[in-house]
């Protein structure tokens, strides 16, 4: 028997919304609705994917099975709750929410409504990360001892510079480092203590952000997480280094750049609005992720990341923000405000 075609509604058509739209188009789902503050982008995408532009979330919800939320972080909560109330499944861009309280409520409400809540911690779908995790989980390097993760790019802009608005995005620590907080937790287990310092906190006049965090996991593993929105464009770098009792695994995007092109003309390099990492692959990891989401939503196949993982990563990020602000290590369970 043929399954009913899954109807997807997208809200938010910035860099990630456009990426997700392209990814949904490569599944058997039907991207049928779009809501955006940008009329122009919405119309362009609607034409491209043969979808309908709706004026509001409320007017789109009756026509979709899944809402894909790609809006600024502080808006995730109310949109997810509206979808749950309409019995619509939710795919939500990371971070799951701006506060732990909101994220918890999203999980509880979706649960009570019997709808799924999927968080787009896309790094788990990047092949270098997925392979490293698989090798480590299968015991190739023994017991994990030290994890080092790096992710850096130029500062993203986004609509109305929302990425730089601490209230909306949580800044670099919450928006970018959350990828590696999640990955560190995937490899090293629950995190107990976070100590972090950031350029934004120490040098507020600097027009960039960069942070270093030391995580201590429950089982004694220690992690070093570096995040940057301080690189000159178009640089985007990621590194993984995991040392265990039986060996060492290393990934360095500088060394895996499979193509390099050096041109004569000295054209000014324009910074992308939202820099994204890329390596030449047959399928980009965003599509891999959306396909996995599709399989989970439509065929209930297991998924490698849960909303609870999204919440846990968010809590590490909030602890890092608090530590950077207070200068003190933060025990996640005793965090002053998770609200």
């Amino acid at each position: 028997m043929m399954d009913k075609q899954l109807r997807i509604g997208l809200i938010g058509t910035g860099a990630m919304g456009q990426t997700h739209a392209h990814a949904w188009d490569q599944t058997a789902a039907n991207l049928c609705g779009i809501v955006s503050r940008s009329e122009e982008t919405a119309q362009t995408l609607a034409r491209q994917y043969d979808a309908t532009v709706y004026e509001s979330l409320d007017s789109m919800l009756p026509h979709i099975d899944v809402l894909d939320i790609c809006t600024p972080t502080d808006l995730h909560h109310e949109m997810a709750l509206a979808a749950a109330a309409a019995g619509v499944h939710v795919v939500c861009e990371k971070p799951l929410a701006r506060t732990a309280k909101h994220a918890q409520e999203m999980i509880d409400v979706c649960d009570a409504a019997g709808v799924k809540l999927l968080v787009a911690q896309v790094v788990r779908f990047f092949p270098e990360y997925a392979l490293a995790q698989k090798k480590i989980a299968s015991g190739d390097i023994g017991d994990v001892a030290v994890i080092r993760l790096k992710r850096g790019s130029s500062q993203p802009v986004g609509e109305n510079k929302w990425f730089l608005d601490q209230e909306k995005s949580g800044g670099m620590i919450l928006d970018l480092m959350i990828h590696d907080f999640d990955f560190a937790r995937w490899l090293g287990g629950e995190v107990e203590t976070v100590f972090a310092k950031s350029v934004r906190q120490e040098n507020p006049e600097a027009e960039v952000d960069h942070a270093l965090a030391i995580l201590t996991h429950k089982n004694g593993v220690i992690s070093h997480i570096e995040g940057s929105w301080a690189y000159p464009p178009p640089l985007f770098r990621t590194q993984i280094e995991v040392a265990g009792s039986n060996g060492f695994i290393q990934h360095d995007s500088d060394k895996t750049a499979a193509t390099a092109m050096y041109f004569h003309e000295s054209k000014t390099v324009e910074a992308p609005s939202v820099p994204l990492p890329s390596s030449p692959l047959h399928e980009d990891p965003y599509t891999t992720q959306i396909k996995a989401f599709y399989q989970h939503l439509q065929h209930d196949e297991p998924l490698r990341v849960s909303a609870a993982d999204g919440l846990a990563a968010l809590k590490i990020g909030l602890a890092a923000l608090q530590s950077a602000r207070t200068g003190l290590p933060v025990n996640i369970r005793e965090m002053e405000s998770v609200s």
Binding site: A145, V146, T193, F195, V199, A206, I222
Partner: protein, 344 residues
């Protein structure tokens, strides 16, 4: 100038002996070691004169000695040399307790001899270039650094590194001082607080190993931390992490390395002090190694020691620098114990 080496406990002695011999005006008079087997082994390997004991070496009135004993045994040898009126270059860390460091400095001051700390990274050409760029203001205001001084567990060379009675600790005391000193020196300012975490998940207990060149198999109980991460804050507001872990596996192409990435007003600066290597692949034995062709920092450091003695001036790295490096390391240990940042 006559210079001898007191103890071959620290593996760096193997480099220093050749560094001394490469300086035309220096006569490398030989070595002495309280471990008779070790002394004999290295005297033979380096074709050097072996003194029966330290007193016999000092009785020949050398101009200077290099002290390369186990970390906790620096003090007695430095005091012995000072009492004999002999200048000293002491292996890092200067000592393992604040008390020992003060006593060593006092003994050398009283005797009027030089006490230099062996911090070779100040003589690394890539790091010197970084310092010059900072001093010339080419990088703008410095915000933060991610620094790494990982290595293989030194077990393969000298098993005492994992015995706290002789080493004073593990990865933290072995590796924090280099980068802490490089940054103090580069910025010209001091560390104000230290946070650190450590574990012993790698090499959790006993490890069997062949000491280099020896037929003895050591079955050594590893009783120290094998991994550590520290966060330093400096007077100028710069913050920096140091990874001092023994994370490089024994089949890594080289012993380890020292590198840093710095974020400043101008952007990103990456320095790898040991990147100037040839890749060497061999079939028999099957292997891959890196052969270093960069400038020799150890050689430049030993030359500075000799020049400072000759010119009767303070060396580029002082005992005080070594003492401060130790203070930072001890603060890191205290932070590991308490879980809190420690002010200096």
């Amino acid at each position: 100038m006559r210079i001898g080496i007191m103890s071959f406990a620290h593996l760096h002695a193997e480099a220093y002996i050749e560094n001394l011999r490469a300086i035309p005006e220096v006569e490398m008079i030989g070595i002495a070691d309280e471990d008779v087997d070790r002394g004999r082994l290295y005297a033979e390997q380096f074709d050097a004169h072996l003194f029966p004991d330290y007193a016999a070496m000092l009785a020949t009135k050398p101009d200077a000695v290099l002290v390369c004993s186990e970390n906790t045994r620096h003090r007695p040898l430095v005091e012995m040399a000072a009492a004999a009126g002999v200048h000293v270059l002491c292996e890092k860390p200067l000592a393992t307790t604040a008390e020992d460091a003060s006593a060593m400095i006092a003994a050398c001051e009283k005797a009027g001899v030089m006490l230099m700390t062996a911090f070779p990274m100040r003589f690394s050409a890539p790091l010197q270039q970084l310092k010059a760029q900072i001093n010339q203001g080419n990088l703008g205001k410095i915000y933060c650094l991610n620094t790494v001084n990982q290595g293989q567990i030194p077990l393969d060379y000298r098993p005492w590194f994992v015995d706290p009675e002789l080493s004073g600790g593990g990865a933290l005391i072995d590796h924090i001082v280099h980068l802490a000193d490089v940054m103090r020196w580069s910025f010209g300012c001091e560390v104000t607080s230290v946070y650190a975490q450590a574990n012993q998940i790698m090499y959790p207990e006993e490890v069997s190993t062949n000491a280099a060149g020896l037929s003895i198999v050591y079955a050594e109980e590893v009783a120290v931390e094998t991994a550590g991460l520290a966060m330093l804050t400096f007077e100028n507001g710069v913050f920096a992490t140091i990874d001092c872990s023994w994370t490089k596996p024994l089949n890594y192409p080289t012993w380890g390395g020292l590198s840093l990435e710095m974020i400043s007003e101008r952007g990103l600066t990456i320095v790898d002090a040991f990147k100037q290597n040839l890749n060497v692949f061999t079939e028999n034995p099957i292997g891959h190694s890196w052969a270093y062709w960069g400038s020799d920092a150890n050689q430049a450091m030993i030359e500075e020691f000799v020049a400072a003695i000759k010119e009767n001036r303070e060396p580029a790295v002082t005992a005080r620098d070594g003492q401060i490096g130790l203070d930072i390391t001890l603060a890191a240990y205290e932070s590991v114990r308490t879980g809190q940042p420690v002010s200096l």
